[in-house]
Symmetry: C2
Subunit: 129 residues, 2 copies
Amino acid sequence: MKIGDLAKVTGCSIQTIRFYERKGLLAKPHRTEANYRTYDNVALEELTFIKQCRSLDISMKEIETLLQNKNNPDQSCASVNALIDEHIIQVNEKISELSQLKMTLEKMSKSCGTDKTIKECGILSELTS
Amino acid sequence: MKIGDLAKVTGCSIQTIRFYERKGLLAKPHRTEANYRTYDNVALEELTFIKQCRSLDISMKEIETLLQNKNNPDQSCASVNALIDEHIIQVNEKISELSQLKMTLEKMSKSCGTDKTIKECGILSELTS
DNA sequence: CTTGACCCTATTCTAAGTATAGACTTTATA
DNA sequence: TATAAAGTCTATACTTAGAATAGGGTCAAG
């Protein structure tokens, strides 16, 4: 499997795959004589795992931790649970922030009707105060 | 007013003020003989405007647009309204994404009880599939 | 007159990629 | 078989919105 094929089946871009490798998230693959990367199903599974994590907005640093955990199958998975729960807390915080922001923006939007000039603009006056 | 004073009253860091200047968001201030920046109340107002916008997560590029608008007081402010409304849409989209994400994470969290090992971990098995 | 609190520029770093240039290899077509 | 197109390689720069640092200059108090 060449890098283009791996990109196609995982939905990652070629640059992203090389980027993960450079960052140590993805193991260095074998190379052909022409120095082309070749991947097996293990690599495919690893990249799928990374992709899945990223789609959940788990950071690369956190993914590194998870990958280390995966290499110790008999250890407790409590830290994995903790990581996800911490992540949920952060997502909740972000949602709260954005909801607050949304209300502020909507209030601001209503403060300016149509056919106003810049100097009469309710939005700009709120932004200046 | 020196940069440290401006930083204190606006709540921006000194580096951030210099950064805004470098990016052209903030006008270049006068300098003392010792090359220290000195600011007047106009600068204070400008930075307050920028800070207010940033707190609403308005990008620096968008702030630039808004600042240009402010310099044409007799123009229509329709584009300002449009910018804010577009911003509201983006915030709503982000909230939707995060809500979806939250549900996925919570479902995942429930899929793994306490006292499991890594190889039995419900979270990791969902992340791998 | 020295010490501490400021200020200056320039450079590097962050996250998670994306984009580009210039060179090489493989594959498909004529 | 020759050539063109598609794929791959490395290295580098760019993105956002700053934060951090090094190494130096300046100002006010004791």
